[in-house]
């Protein structure tokens, strides 16, 4: 079933572009379209803007970084989700299948427990995600089995549960007035605090991981076949699997470290992308990246504009993701073939 990826890619691109325009123009702080264009145009030309300082501040230091972070995190989760779903040949897999989110969550709550600064918390979350997946991988490869993928998934489930217990323990020990609310908010996911200084630590790992996955796009198609068939086609599945898992984990950990736990995006968006362009990875990856960025951007715009207080992203994505997932379960045969 060869089909052109162009219409699908175009749709994904339009979703993202519309999302960007809406995200920049709406917000709690009133910024008119003229002011917005003036600030962006002046910035591009490197001359001072005529807009008030507070407006310039909102656009360049508050809303701008947040919009960019939403796109990056959404893309990252969608790309990682696509990679994991292909690798595990399972449509119900999300980027946290190998414990990246649980590890990041434990890292973050430990950081909050010890009253570290924001950088310390994010760094611990990032390292926690990487360490959890590394542990899962080592355990999975130590247990010899005819089905290495299944063992890997089971190891991920078990380690994830253990890390979840660790998060529970730290929350239990935390100061209930100060630290516990901070942990709860972190675990619900939010981009409310994104600043310019968050963008580089997010962009670096996401770009690196995505580049690796893009470079492996043809071989990822082969990895979607059962192990014996892939080997018969001359692909050494072991090293390739490590590379894919490492790249997807890098991307996931960096996003979760910035945004907290945001579920559903990595699970749902790959299916939408597959519905648009089919399961061929060279087409699927860019489509999923664009769609994921657009999707989370819409969600985050809703999260920051609906009320004076923030709505946690994890809650919004779940409210939107659950009906979709039920539809997916009902319709799995068709959408996976």
């Amino acid at each position: 079933m060869r089909r052109s990826a162009l219409p699908g890619l175009a749709i994904a691109l339009i979703v993202l572009a519309v999302g960007l325009v809406i995200a920049f123009t709406v917000g709690r702080y009133p910024v008119s379209l003229a002011e917005l264009l003036d600030v962006l145009w002046s910035r591009a030309l490197g001359r001072p803007t005529s807009a008030p300082a507070a407006v310039e501040n909102v656009v360049l230091l508050v809303r701008g970084p947040r919009v960019i972070a939403a796109v990056l995190v959404g893309s990252a989760l969608a790309v990682a989700g696509s990679a994991f779903q292909g690798l595990f040949r399972n449509p119900l897999v999300s980027p946290d299948i190998l414990g990246a989110s649980s590890g990041a969550a434990l890292g973050a709550v430990i950081g909050i427990f010890f009253s570290l600064g924001v950088v310390g918390i994010e760094l611990l979350a990032f390292m926690g995600g990487l360490a959890a997946v590394a542990a899962v991988y080592v355990i999975g490869s130590m247990l010899r089995s005819r089905d290495p993928i299944l063992v890997l998934v089971l190891a991920g489930v078990v380690i994830g549960a253990l890390l979840g217990a660790g998060v529970g323990l730290v929350k239990y020990l935390a100061d209930p007035y100060n630290q516990l609310p901070a942990m709860t908010f972190w675990l619900l996911g939010s981009l409310a605090a994104t600043s310019v200084s968050d963008l580089l630590p997010l962009l670096g790992p996401v770009a690196l991981g995505t580049l690796v996955l893009v470079a492996l796009r043809w071989r990822m198609n082969v990895m979607s076949l059962p192990d014996e068939e892939a080997r018969a086609l001359g692909v050494s599945t072991g090293p390739l699997r490590i590379a894919i898992v490492a790249a997807a984990t890098l991307v996931t950990s960096a996003s979760v470290a910035t945004s907290g736990i945001i579920g559903w995006v990595g699970l749902v968006v790959p299916h939408l992308a597959r519905a648009l362009v089919g399961p061929d990875f060279p087409k699927l990856l860019p489509t999923a990246a664009l769609l994921g960025g657009g999707f989370l951007l819409f969600i985050d715009t809703l999260a920051r504009t609906a009320a004076a207080v923030e709505i946690p992203l994890g809650i919004l994505t779940a409210v939107i993701g659950t009906p979709f997932f039920i539809w997916l379960l009902a319709d799995m045969q068709r959408s996976w073939s």
């Binding site: 501040n57 918390i121 100060n178 609310p181 901070a182 605090a193």
Partner: protein, 350 residues
């Protein structure tokens, strides 16, 4: 520290003897005194001599410490060294016993029983949840459980009730009066200022200062007594907000409990346009040994009222905060502070 309880007043002696005799006839083996009505209207029957009290949570531990430190069995959470410096040495270092109130028990009821308390004291919200919790624990442990109101306007009555429960009405009355006088004299002086003309305050919590208390939340009681809470339009508890929203609120004053935010806010370009930042009116709340504006929600916030009043209305409150601090720490925490210690407390650092 048992010396105070070994010198009960004559009044207590008489009451103890009379009720003790009466109840030893009625209930052999169990000496019980008068029944006292707690903050929820429950009748609590306590023994004639209350010598060991288990605090259900941090607010109760602090209130009990201020009246009768010797009765305190332990702390819900062990005090850190920097906190112990501002408490009586042998009381501040008493062990961690966990808590019964609120989100999940960390205290094991068998441990509570093994400590043999004469009374469990719980101070905080008085609502159906906590009343049923009090009843259940009392039924299970057979230890009298008193539930008292911890809000500013309820704390004086709670002090007096505790005084009756533990048979020490005088210190309780003195602290109750201090509480009433403080709240009355502060609110009286600003009563002429209509609510909408009071400074608009944003309360910044969390690692990035983007957690705040919504209208009517217990965290905002100190601030809402004296000023307008910019987030007060939405009723609720703690919540996350975005910087964009804080910019829109444009508060006149920012009160924070976060050291990192207080240190960096003047250099953070995202916060720069806010009126409070421009006017350099971002204030770090003192927190030793217990927080001055927010948690635990107990009498520790009383001195925070003076601190906040002086920040918000410097002309109306010419008092010397150092003298007030020294007096409060002597009366409530039973410690005499040196000038250097007062400076450390006021700096808000660890």
């Amino acid at each position: 520290m048992a010396d105070r309880s070994k010198r009960p007043t004559a009044w207590l002696d008489r009451r103890a003897i009379v009720t003790g005799l009466a109840s030893s006839v009625l209930l052999p083996g169990r000496v019980s005194a008068a029944s006292v009505t707690d903050g929820a209207g429950r009748a609590v029957t306590v023994p004639a001599r209350v010598e060991r009290v288990f605090p259900a949570g941090p607010p109760a531990a602090i209130v009990l410490y201020t009246i009768a430190p010797d009765l305190l069995l332990g702390w819900p959470r062990a005090n850190r060294p920097e906190e112990r410096e501002f408490l009586l040495p042998d009381i501040g270092s008493r062990p961690e016993v966990g808590r019964i109130t609120g989100r999940g028990n960390t205290a094991n009821l068998e441990v509570v029983l093994s400590l043999k308390p004469d009374l469990i004291l719980d101070i905080g919200s008085v609502n159906a949840t906590y009343i049923s919790l009090a009843d259940r624990v009392q039924e299970q442990t057979r230890i009298p459980y008193a539930l008292l109101d911890g809000r500013f306007d309820g704390i004086a009555a709670s002090y007096r009730t505790i005084g009756t429960l533990i048979g020490r009405p005088e210190p309780a009355e003195a602290l109750a009066r201090y509480n009433d006088d403080t709240v009355k004299s502060i609110t009286g002086r600003i009563a002429a200022i209509p609510r909408e003309r009071r400074p608009r305050v944003y309360y910044a919590r969390g690692p990035r200062g983007l957690e705040t208390g919504l209208g009517g939340s217990i965290n905002m009681e100190t601030i809402e007594l004296l000023a307008q809470n910019v987030a007060g339009g939405t009723p609720g508890g703690l919540s996350n907000v975005s910087i964009e929203q804080v910019l829109l609120w444009n508060p006149d004053v920012i009160i924070t409990i976060d050291l990192a935010l207080a240190a960096n806010v003047y250099n953070d370009r995202a916060w720069a346009p806010i009126a409070a930042v421009q006017a350099r009116r971002v204030h770090l709340s003192p927190k030793l040994p217990f927080g001055w504006v927010d948690f635990p929600p107990s009498v520790n916030r009383l001195i925070g009222l003076w601190w906040l009043a002086k920040i918000l209305y410097p002309d109306l409150f010419p008092e010397d905060l150092r003298a007030l601090t020294r007096d409060f720490y002597r009366q409530f925490y039973h410690v005499a502070l040196s000038d250097a210690q007062i400076e450390r407390v006021l700096a808000g650092r660890d």
